[in-house]
Every structure is written in C-alpha cells, then in structure tokens.
Amino acid sequence: MRLVRIMFAFGLMSLSLATQARGDGGTVRAMERIDDCRITVFTSPTPLLTGPIDVSVLLQDAATGEVIANAHIEVTARAAELPDFAIKSIATSELAANKLLQAAQLDLPQTGWWNAEVNVQRIGQQTIRVQLEFEAAPPPPRWTILWPWFCWPAIPIALFCLGQCYSRRTRPSVIPHQI
C-alpha cells in the first residue's frame, strides 16, 4: 500500500507542476518565404477562443530547411475594433513543447477579429515581418470541456451494479451480514 501511495504522491506532484502553456503548434496561420528564411506561424487552440492562446513560430533556412534558433521574435495582436489597444509577447522556445518552435502566449480579452504581427529580428539581418488575422470566438462554458471529470463516476457505478446483479444471482444475500 505504501508503494501505491508513493506512486500516487509522485503522480500528484507531477499534476501540481502542470501549467497552462502548451506551445505545441496547432493550426498553420501563415507560411511565407522572406529573404533566405521560411517562416511558419501556428496558433492554438483550434478554433481560437478568447482567453490565453499560443502563437508559435517556426523559422527555417529556406534552402536547407534547417531550423534557425535564437531569433528574437515578438508577437503583437491588435483587436480590429480597437487598433490602439495592443497585446505584446516575446516568443521563446521555453514556452513551446516542440522545441523547433518559439511560442508566445497572448491573453485575448475580447471576441472578434484580431490582427497580429510577428516580428523576427536576427543579428546582422533585416527584420522580418509577417502579418495575419484571425477571429477569436467566445469560450464555451467550462463544463462542456470538463464534463468527463464529473461524469466518470457513472462507469464504476455501472460496473459495481453489474457486479452486484451477478453476485446476487449466485449468493443468497446481497451482502453477508458481517457488519
């Protein structure tokens, strides 16, 4: 039992380290060749919702396809209705699950269309700019995403009932009078 508890504790410990950052790519929003670079911009989740979103950037050498690491990438998003209001974030590989990418987290406060700009700066090179636009939908109620977390007890309950139905056929009493 102690062993199971230790494993359980390790498991819980790993849960406690969970973060919201995913940065694992998502939908390709833009793929352009600029100068000697190929730049691909991904967004997640799909579809995009208000709240935290990931914008991931893959920068490659256009000729070889080799990844260009350590570029300074800044992502700026502006609501189409409020162009003066901007959200900025720096994209880093630490935030990305796939380390080919550099990911930035943006917190979109409102629904509707957004214009985003990705600026890539490399030492001794010209700044690369990629523009994209996307629509952020309102987030669905949390319960529509988390319903398995409160519905799963139905499975053990059903299995238990099945087990009891079967054992009732074979035993004279539901539960031995042992209590």
Binding site: V4, M31, G65, K99, L100, P156, Y166, V174, I175, I179
Partner: protein, 776 residues
C-alpha cells in the same frame, strides 16, 4: 548535431495526467508483483516486471516523448507512434501477465468490493473470451487499423486533439486485444488450437503489408495535412509518406513474423504446451483461491504504524512531543490575536485574515485526508487544560443533560451563520476575539469538569475533525487485540501514575474509528504493553458499521451524531455556495424583495434553509421512502441516524474542494503579511511587503479538475457507504432486492448533493482573503 535534431531531442511534452496514470499503474503492478513473488518466485520472475515496465515505457514514449509533438509535422514519426501503441506496448504489457499483480496490488477494499465480483461475472468472462478469440481479434485489429488510416479519419485526428486521443485509445485497445491470444498471458486458458495462431499472424502481416505498400508506392500525398505544414530537413511530403510506409512495412512485419516463427518452432518441435496449459489451469484456480484467502488473513502488526516510522514515530511517542506542537501552535495563535487586534483591519493584509482562513483550513483538510486528526493532537486551545489541572480541581462530571453533541451542534450552526453574516474571513478583529474566546472557554470548562469535556461536548472544530477523520487512513488503535485480552490494568482508559487515561472515555480494545479521538496519544503513552499505535486502516470503512463503540455507542442510537454529520455535510455546501456569484446575486435579490438594505436577513434565511430545513426535508423523505420500498420495520430515527453517515465522504470532499481551492489560489498571501507583521514589530530583515503576492492566482483548469476529482471520489465513497448500510438493514428482509430499494432514496439524495457541488465549483468564485477582491 543539427539544430533540428537538437530541438527534437529537447521536445518532451508535459502530460501530467498520463504520467499520473502510468505511475499509479506501475506502482499497483509492482506492489502486486512483490506480494506474488514472495509466494511463488519461480512464476513471478524479474522478466515479467521488466516486460510490463517496458510496455508502460513504450506508451510513455509514444505519447509523452518528442515523438508526440513531431507527429503532426512528419508522417513517419506519426507512424512510429502508432507502431509503439499497436505493436510494441501491448505484447510487452501482456508478457508481464498483469492480471494478478494488478489485482493483488490494488487496495483490498476495491479488490473485494468491485474488481473480484466483476471478474467473476460469467457474462464478462464469456465476452472477453469471445473478444480475444483469433476469429474476433483479427478482424477488430484490421478494422481499427484500416478505419483510422483512411484519409478522412486520419485528417480528423490531426485536426482535432480529442479525436487524436480517441485514435490512440483505439490503437492501444485493438493492439491489446490482438496480442492477447499470441502472448496468452497467465492465467489465460485458450480453448482453441494454437495452430490457429499461424494463419492469424500471417493474415495480420498481409494486411500490414498491403497498407504499407499503399503508403510507400502512392504517387500522391494521401494525407493533405502534411502538405500544409512546414517541411523539415528538406524532406518532401511524398518522401515522408514513403518513409512512413517503409517503417510500417519492415518493423511491422518483423513484429508479426518473429512471434510466428517462435510459435511455429514450438509447435513443430512438440513443446509440452498442452501439459503446461493443464498445470496453468490448476495453478490459476489455486492462485485465485489463495488470493482470496490472503486478503482475509491479517497478521497482527503487519499494518503500517506511524509510531514505528523513524524520527516521526519517535517524536510522537515522546511524552512531550504533543506539548511541543501545542506550544508552536499557541505561539501562532498569539500572533494571530496580536495582529487581529493591533494590525490593519483588512483580511488580506492581516495574519488573522490569512493564516486561519486560507492556510490552516487548507492544511487541516489535507491532513485529515492524508493522515488523521493531527490538528487536535497539536490543538493550542487545550494547552491551558494542563494549567487548569494544576490550579483547579476539575472533579465535576459534565451535566448529564448536556452529554451529547447538541451543544457543539448549536455552536457549529451559530458559527456557520456568523461566518457569513459577519464576514469572519475578512475581519481580523472578530477572528482574534474568537480565538481568545476559544482559549477562555477551553480553560473554564476544563477547570470545572473532569476529562476532556470541552473537546467531547463543546468544541465545534473538534466535531468537524472527529467526523472528518472517519475518512482518514490512520487511526489510533490497538496493535494486537490478544494483548488487550490478557490485560487487567487497563491503563489506556484509567491512566497510570504519570499519564492520564483517555479523557474522551474511549476504551481502546472496544474503540472503532476516529470518532471522538483527539489523537492525544495518552492511551499510547499509558499502555504498559506498548500495544497502541497509529495504524493504517481502510478509509470510510467504519461508516457503515453499527457495532457498539466505546465512548460513542451505536450510531443508530445517536441522533445527535447524525444531526452533526448532516450539519457538517450540508454546511460544506452552504459554506462553499456562499462565495459564488449566482448565490450572492440571489441573496441581493431577496434582500431587495424584502426591502432590506443589507444582506443579513437573506443570508440568515439562506443559512437556515440550507443547514436546517433542507436537510430535515431530504432525510425525512429518504427515510420514509427507504422504509416503504424496503418494507423495513426499523424505527425512522434509527434508520436516518444510520444513513446520515453515508453523507460523510461527500461532505468532506466538498470541504476539501473548497478549502483546497483557497489554499492553492491564495497560499502566497502569507508572504507579504509576514513581511508586514515583522516590519511592524521593528525588524526589516524580510524587506518591504510584496503585496502583489496577496492577489490570488486564477482558477486554472487543473485546479478545477482536482476539485471535481475530490467530489467524484467523495460521491463514490458515499454511495458505497449507503449501499453497505442498506445491505445491512435489508438483511432483515427476505427479499434479496430490498437493499436496492432501501438504498435508492439515499442514492438520489447523494446524487443531488453531488450535482449541487459540481455546479458550485463551476461558478465564478469570490476570492476571499486576497487583495484583488475580484471574481474569477
């Protein structure tokens, strides 16, 4: 090393739920394997453990290694992922013969209540035998493989993460079904000829070859997703697809042909398979019997005993260990009182607004869940009792008319009402006075009355701890009942020259459960045979027992205890509901309707309804239905008094979700408050207060999941307790279905409460004890 390869090697996605599931599965298997190996080392060799571990590692590599993030960019990596799930992990898992180790390793209660009855089912056994027959397993495996490799489904899985999870689950399940007849893990007993495995594996390989050739030689990209993603290392989408086909073809064929060759050789050389099967059958039957026998056998002293844990056990066994803990908590209480009376009167900036309402409550429920009633052990309020004992002769008996929980129950209702009305969490001044009042009440009562009258009959916190500790995994109990049978001095209750006996009148040999036990360990210190320990027990197992308990009596004869349990359960929901937006808005509407400018009346109405009226209605209704449907002759009050205990786990889970939420979102608030207090006292060592830490963290999905998980487990434990109580009562009746009928109304009541709990945790919360005061 190229930058792409380096990035690949560093890309380890973090999936805590997968890690959790794999770790727990491995832990359960290892525990069972160790137990089985002690009895039969020849059968349970390291090879099985290694194979099972490698199987889980294969699942981990497929889903939580660099393979996972790169699967969306390269088809060949995605193919490797599927091969791991279908060809590598399943046979390795079956080679570990996981059935018995997982059964033996699971907790005994779950094993006997759920798993074994389920596995005994004729229908389930017949279904699993049919499913793992080669005639069913092969079409299933081929069908699943082809279905998910159709471009439409493959694209769907790449687009939608939920479908991707479903795809992986299908592959793993189909792989497990397919490899079961090939590996035939112990104690399987196939009734078909092993020669059937030869065409089985050949046909599977043919299917694999056809699909792989289709991928390899196709002139077009079959999955358009891979034309839309950036290409890596100059590899075109078509070449990537061909490489994926080759990967499926060659290693895939090896996975089918290697066991084919092995089985063929064994069959042709006439290995004693049949003889082994007979031995396996006999051995399996014996093993199941011995598993059952071992589960019921319990050696004295074999249980985990906290008092025998190095250092911690020695500290607790030390006579002054409790006093040290009490002094520490008394100092903390002193600081709370000082800051509450002299510090800023804003909850989030004051130690009296943060330490008791955010931290202490959170650690209290976590301690009860993980260990036992250790707060009562370290309770600062009872420290003056020893002083009172020196100055006064506490020789009066507690008045007979007040013996019971009604006094504590009334105080508890008053406290829950006052908590909402006076916003105690945000009033350091009130918190300080309540703390002082507690010290005073404990001192006065224990100066006048003998024993631990304050703890047993008055203290509302103590009642919360006593009831909640019924779900704790540790209990102060006798190590070996045989020793007590021969004991004539019974110091555990009478006391010895230097140590008092149990002040709560709990006689250890007849004590059951943690009810009324303060974990003071006086009994352990007094016992001359060192026969009292803090032993591991099955949580909640005492809830359905109606045996006469020392110092408590029978649950069915204690309506005061039942009322206490119901108040604590419904109090958990009322207390949590009082902090969610819709309920606060409802209170405002009621206040407006009643023409009140403040919420006092609406809150009082809400508390009265939730704590008194609704519980009485629900319990009365359920009791009446139970009696009618189950045709019981039991007295209504007795029946209600017994079934009330089924609410304990669900009520505790709500407290846990609520207090755990405050602890996890507001634990940093202690930092600036301590800095401020230390600064106010004239020390600047900790620097100026960082008030940014006093803002609560947002409610993340993982925290919400933990809250739901707490409620889920609470519901299951409550339902099981209701079932056991119903089973016990239904034995009065000759109708074997009576238990269902008796339990049904209580099950509905519990499900209703669970639904309310789920609704509460999804609502926007008012962040108490933090500076932001916003809702999330």
């Amino acid at each position: 090393m190229s930058a792409t390869l380096e990035s690949f090697l560093r890309s380890w996605p973090y999936d805590p739920w997968l890690d959790f599931a794999l770790l727990v599965t491995w832990g359960v298997y290892l525990r069972g394997w160790l137990a089985l190996r002690r009895r039969d080392p020849a059968r349970w060799q390291f090879g099985r453990l290694t194979a099972f571990t490698c199987g889980l590692v294969a699942v981990f590599l497929a889903l939580a290694s660099p393979i996972e993030p790169f699967a969306a960019l390269l088809l060949q990596v995605h193919m490797a992922q599927h091969l791991l799930l279908m060809m590598v992990a399943p046979p390795l898992i079956w080679l570990g013969a996981p059935l018995f180790p997982l059964l033996r390793g699971s907790p005994a209660t779950i094993r006997h209540a759920w798993l074994l009855p389920l596995l005994r089912q004729h229908g389930l056994r017949k279904f699993s035998a049919a499913l793992t027959h080669p005639f069913a397993a092969l079409p299933l495996f081929v069908g699943v493989t082809l279905f998910w490799h159709t471009p439409r489904m493959y694209e769907l899985a790449l687009r939608d993460s939920a479908w991707h999870v479903a795809e992986h689950a299908c592959f793993l399940a189909a792989g497990l079904v397919f490899w079961y007849p090939v590996v035939r893990p112990y104690p399987s007993r196939p009734r078909w000829s092993p020669w059937l495995l030869l065409p089985y594996l050949i046909l599977a390989d043919v299917q694999n070859t056809v699909l792989a050739a289709w991928l390899t030689f196709s002139g077009t990209v079959l999955y358009p997703h891979y034309t839309q993603v950036p290409r890596l290392a100059g590899l075109s989408a078509l070449n990537d697809q061909a490489a994926a086909g080759v990967l499926m073809w060659v290693p895939g064929s090896v996975a089918f042909l290697a066991p084919l060759f092995w089985i063929g050789v064994r069959l042709l050389t006439g290995s004693p398979a049949k003889q082994q099967d007979t031995i396996r059958q006999r051995s399996a039957t014996l093993r199941i019997a011995s598993l059952h026998a071992a589960a019921y056998r319990q050696k004295p002293g074999a249980d985990f005993d906290l008092l025998r844990v190095p250092l911690l056990g020695s500290f607790l066994s030390w006579r002054h260990g409790r006093k040290v803990l009490q002094i520490l908590l008394t100092l903390a209480a002193g600081l709370i009182v000082y800051d509450g009376l002299c510090g800023p009167q804003l909850g989030a900036m004051n130690l009296a607004g943060v330490l008791p309402w955010v931290h202490w409550r959170g650690f209290l429920v976590l301690g009860l869940l993980a260990a036992g009633n250790f707060f009562c052990l370290a309770c600062p309020f009872t420290l003056p009792r020893s002083l009172a004992g020196r100055w006064f002769r506490a020789d009066r008996a507690w008045p007979r008319c007040l013996r019971g929980k009604w006094t504590a129950l009334t105080l508890l209702i008053l406290f829950l009402w006052a908590y909402e009305i006076f916003a105690l969490w945000d009033s350091p001044w009130w918190t300080a006075w309540i703390t002082l009042g507690y010290f005073l009440a404990a001192f006065v009562i224990d100066s006048l009355f003998r024993g631990a009258a304050f703890c047993k009959y008055v203290c509302p916190i103590g009642q919360f701890n006593f009831v909640s500790a019924m779900v704790s995994p540790l209990e102060v109990k006798v190590r070996d009942p045989q020793v007590c049978a021969s004991c004539t001095t019974i110091e555990c209750i009478r006391g010895s020259d230097s140590v008092p006996g149990c002040g709560l009148e709990l006689f250890q040999p007849r004590k059951q459960g943690n009810l009324d036990c303060t974990f003071c360990l006086d009994c352990a210190h007094a016992c001359p045979h060192e026969n009292v320990g803090i032993l591991a027990v099955t949580p909640t197992a005492q809830l359905w027992s109606d045996r006469a308990r020392s110092g408590v009596g029978r649950f069915s004869q204690r309506p005061d205890l039942a009322a206490l349990v119901l108040i604590l359960t419904f109090g958990a929901f009322i207390n949590a509901a009082g902090m969610v937006g819709p309920v606060l808005a409802w209170q405002d509407r009621i206040s407006a309707l009643l023409g009140q400018s403040s919420r006092y009346l609406a809150v009082s109405l809400f508390t009265l309804l939730g704590l008194v009226v609704v519980p009485i209605l629900i319990v009365s209704f359920a009791t009446e239905l139970s009696r009618r449907w189950g045709r019981l002759s039991t007295c209504r009050l007795e029946l209600a008094s017994r079934f009330a205990w089924a609410f304990v786990p669900l009520g505790f889970s709500m407290w846990l979700a609520h207090y755990g939420f405050h602890l996890l979102t507001g634990w940093e608030t202690i930092v600036p408050v301590s800095q401020r207090l230390i600064g106010d006292l004239g020390w600047t060592a900790l620097g100026p207060p960082e008030w940014s830490c006093a803002c609560c963290r947002p409610l993340t999905d993982w925290l919400l999941r933990l809250e739901l998980l707490s409620l889920d487990v609470g519901l299951l434990a409550s339902l099981y307790a209701a079932w056991r109580i119903a089973g016990d009562d239904a034995n009065e009746s000759a109708d074997p279905r009576a238990a269902c009928k008796v339990a049904a109304p209580w099950v509905v009541a519990l499900l209703l409460l669970f639904a309310i709990g789920v609704w509460i945790v999804f609502q926007p919360m008012e962040m108490r004890g933090t500076l932001s005061g916003e809702t999330f």
